[in-house]
Symmetry: none
Subunit: 285 residues, 2 copies
DNA sequence: GACTGGACGGAATAAATATTCTATTCTCAA
DNA sequence: TTGAGAATAGAATATTTATTCCGTCCAGTC
């Protein structure tokens, strides 16, 4: 038998698999080389297809695919396929390297270190994700709505509260009139009663959604106050009350979701609004 | 029978499918809505998983997935799945590319976009920096100090306030006793008067340092309360009052410093402390 | 309060799947 | 040319898969 090569590590990610294939390509038997060529040329097909369909496309037998996989140390074709699928999931260039850099650093030696690394990695992932999930056009609309408002109402509870807390700080510095909602219990309704169509609101809520925030957003929407919202699902109850809404899925570690992407988003929105106002004001001078 | 809706077109790509789902979301029965939410929140899982695995993850029956697909005009679950797979093949162009496409048209649009990108980039830079600037041993010591405290006092003002705000939320979830300092003016001194050597404090302050925070940290230190602090300079006045302190320089954009690294740090510290406590508690059982 | 129609859960089923096995073919050296 | 060993094709097999079907449940209506 000349099958699984135990002496060499089984590739765990697409890049190293690709390298291994290229390296051994010359010594591969005819049909296996045929498979190798097809696999590297049509990685998407390998990821999605069945053994039968791929075999037909590559003009080999299904069993050849299994032998190919086993030749590189995998248990069968299916486990090889996982590598090709993983490649499509996290097609974030640069992320792998960063993660590898993290796992090699001093923190990994201590027990609390892995927690530390985990949160840094989660924050990175969140930020990688944000660029593709926020549409520039929607962002622009949100900026326009908030820049045109007399007073910006900030609605957030619990986990989202730090986000609006930062925005409040920044708006204060930038001389943009704002009003936080939900700090002291009881007077929220009175505050919201003052909001009108000339104002605007920014609401943040992640699942599990604080019912208070949702209701307040609804109330504002019913009073013709344009609402911009930040949430983590297209199914968020916030979405239906909002003129513009952003779906932002934060990566998590140990069950605690990162706030990095939300924070970056909030900072960008805040500064963009202030910038827009400054320019509008100059035009009227 | 009320099945396939021939009058309406079957979505052929992911975007129109998503739009259709969102549109009909309100009228969907309970389980189908559950599937809808899961599908839009975890599109990758739908693309790769089997009906059984997805059903388990979404907490429904496999047959529900089939009904869901048929509800939207597909023949079965498999044909719906093809849409989700196609999405991964032809990745949607990221924000960067879309932004570049926009840049030719309108200058004002470009402006908001560059602000957005700027903050995301700054956040990335901050996170890249954090691993090298925080010493694992110091982190370990900080965890030990806070894990051993009866009550953890959180001291932060202004820009740092969102950080302690998040920690308060997380400590609450994790059943760690804490006390925020500086929320309502006037009673701070009374709160601090209760702190003793068995407690500990975590103070955050970046330049320009809020004198209040600095004084409170000094007061705590003089009362033999161990202080852990997070700041942005070795010359920070906080440092001299602290048992352990961390220097964390955040990258900035347009003069506004990122909070991503501080946030990641705070989350890691919070969870590490809770974890440590949990372990200590188990040892004494 | 009974009736009706849709929604649901769960078992049954038929198709499709990856893998294994074996006979045959090919390769290369003596 | 012949013999030995690997490589291959293709059928057989044991899972796993999506789907169908039917009894039950639930909400709304008269």
């Amino acid at each position: 038998m000349a099958e699984t090569d135990n002496s060499i590590e089984i590739p765990q990610d697409f890049d190293s698999l690709k390298a291994t294939i290229l390296e051994r390509k010359a010594q591969l038997p005819k049909r296996l080389r045929q498979v190798a060529a097809y696999a590297l040329d049509h990685p998407d097909e390998i990821a999605f297809g069945t053994a039968a369909s791929i075999a037909t496309a590559a003009d080999v037998q299904p069993s050849t695919l299994v032998r190919f996989a086993q030749h590189f140390g995998f248990e069968g074709f299916s486990s090889l396929q996982l590598i090709f699928r993983a490649r499509l999931r996290e097609r974030t260039p640069g992320y792998d390297e960063r993660l590898r850099a993290l796992s090699g650093n001093d923190h990994s030696k201590l027990e609390s270190g892995s927690i530390f690394n985990g949160f840094v990695a989660a924050a990175h992932r969140s930020l990688d994700n944000i660029a593709s999930s926020v549409e520039p056009e929607a962002f622009e609309r949100a900026v326009n709505i908030l820049a045109g408002a007399e007073t910006i109402y900030l609605v957030a509870k619990r986990r989202s509260y730090p986000i609006s807390g930062y925005m409040a700080y920044a708006f204060g510095k930038l001389r943009v009139r704002y009003q936080m909602v939900g700090t002291a219990a009881g007077i929220d309704d009175d505050i919201l009663a003052m909001a009108g169509p000339k104002d605007a609101a920014f609401a943040v809520s992640f699942s599990p959604y604080a019912s208070e925030s949702v209701n307040q957003a609804k109330l504002l929407a019913s009073r013709k106050v344009p609402v911009v919202s930040l949430t983590d699902s297209a199914f968020s109850p916030l979405a239906e009350s909002s003129r513009v809404w952003f779906e932002l899925v934060e990566a998590d570690h140990a069950g605690f979701r990162s706030l990095s992407a939300s924070m970056a988003f909030a900072m960008a929105l805040t500064v963009a609004v202030a910038e827009k106002r400054r320019r509008n004001a100059r035009e009227y001078e």
